[in-house]
Point group: C3
Chain length 241, copies 3
């Protein structure tokens, strides 16, 4: 069986992926769900993308991880792209789940619609801690549109303020994703409108992977809350050889 | 539980939504399925969009409707946009189901592909009653493409000629939909090709709502005939808080 | 009941559609799965598109086929377009299943992304037999992305080198598909990335049919291997009156 490392998105920690990981473990695989530096409960929010990437590279080294199926959600796509650039020999396949795919020199903000960049910057500038929080109406309508209100409320209470420097910082890569000699998959949840469908995750960002395997499943951006078992199956369809 | 008002599309009356309403009532809600002025069996077809809108505003007042989840199909999107502009305080959420979303000054014809505008005008000009009828081959292939022929035949016999002035008349709004302070959802049937997929309902028209919740379901433009229960569930996923 | 003739795509023969045909026969229909000239085990690969088309026209005549629901996969779309131009009176409906739709004077290469044209030409020029083979990583990731590795391996071993002249040769038609007075359907497998989703089968090619019925189903380009029964049902939804 395989080793899956699941990398969360902005406003999340590894804990929010516990149900997904449980379904993957039930199929016989080993899973890890580390929290990226800057998203831990006691972490400073004055953290940039390179530190975020380093924290996961360190996690790989510390746990001596090899032959990994490395999965990322959303912002986590920036992180696994950096990890794959640093330690490609430890990775069997990259799986982007409605995740950003940067080329060298790109930031999350470079791939976001203008209105979200402006909104997030204005929220961050009204705070003193270098973080951005997500307004509930956006969360409920555009992130967790496939869940009931109780699920959306409950999940919202577990979000953490996200270090905004990680969205601004441009990634530094030796090799762009399309040229990375590692197998790649993209999991697209078909009702994900956290990026609007006229400026979508797939195929706008997925095509930057070059040759990749597409897996689609019904679901919102936050299928980890609305149907973690269905998401786990999509990730395993994406992660298998 | 909630109050759902279902507004039909062109060529339909409220009666064609009876099965959908029954599924929504079975879940404990109250439903209303009024017929828009101009589509009733004995109505004159010399009716424009403002009269159509007024007839539903009147229906709200007459029935003292408050806290309504107001759902519209296709042409009905014009009508509920006008209703929401007139009596926003009576509406809890707007649900557009493969429906037109006009900004101030726009008509249905402004959002239709040129070939449909020309076809509908030429059909209407060959009649004497100010109405347009839908040719069966278009109905069967592009409107009810997910049903068998018997269902398509049966539903076709229940269509009524549609007042063409409602397609030409530009709507007059105080506030465009994106700025209306009411929650909004868009239900997209993924096999709906009544508008061609290179000039689609979603995201071309849905994005005019500003922040909205997306719900998708397999189905044609006329899922009310091919699978009313599945449609009802999509409408309730869209209509809940 | 109806007569279905199923025309395979590039690298295939009629044999690979046996499971699909069996499901269609189980519903009471008659099926034929001829192999196009140039794809048979002992055929020369020095074959062009006109010879390919003629071989299926001959098959119609030899078997005295009338009132046919003529289904094509991928490259087979070129062939049935040519057959419909030659013997329209024998065809009840055309069904394109993630298939090319040429207008007069177009070739497969005219509808392929540049990188595939270049790749196929470079593979063919490295061989001596006028054929192109598909590299396994592309097959596995972009053609059979919804299957497990064992299925992808097994199916790959049944592929045959495809005559490259059939991809280069421009078709000669009396009437373009949109004007052909035969009913038409397009079956789109929603995870088909054999053509990239930013340059897709549907609606880019399907819209060349003019009025057509859309049927969609989850699945990759090679749903005939990953789920032949599901494909058969989609083809029958597309093929019925």
């Amino acid at each position: 069986m395989s080793t899956y490392v699941l990398i969360h998105g902005a406003w999340h920690t590894g804990k929010e992926l516990a149900s997904v990981a449980a379904s993957i473990e039930a199929a016989g695989h080993t899973t890890f769900t580390p929290t990226i530096k800057g998203n831990g409960p006691s972490d400073s929010r004055d953290v940039g993308l390179s530190e975020a990437v380093c924290s996961i590279v360190d996690f790989f080294v510390l746990n001596d991880l090899e032959d990994v199926i490395l999965v990322a959600h959303s912002y986590g796509g920036m992180v696994i792209t950096g990890v794959a650039d640093a330690v490609p020999e430890r990775i069997r396949r990259l799986v982007y789940w409605n995740a950003f795919v940067p080329n060298n020199g790109e930031s999350v903000n470079d791939m976001l619609p203008r209105q979200y960049v402006d909104l997030f910057e204005s929220i961050a500038s009204a705070r003193a801690d270098g973080a951005v929080a997500l307004p509930f109406p956006i969360w409920r309508e555009a992130y967790l549109n496939d869940a009931d209100l109780a699920t959306a409320d409950h999940a919202f209470r577990h979000l953490n303020p996200h270090p905004i420097r990680t969205l601004r910082e441009k990634i530094s890569l030796n090799v762009n994703p399309a040229e990375v000699p590692i197998a790649k998959s993209y999991v697209n949840c078909t009702e994900d409108i956290s990026l609007p469908h006229h400026y979508p995750w797939h195929p706008r960002l997925s095509q930057k992977l070059g040759l990749f395997r597409l897996v689609q499943t019904p679901g919102s951006h936050e299928l980890c809350f609305s149907n973690p078992a269905r998401l786990a199956h999509a990730l395993m369809d994406a992660g298998r050889d």
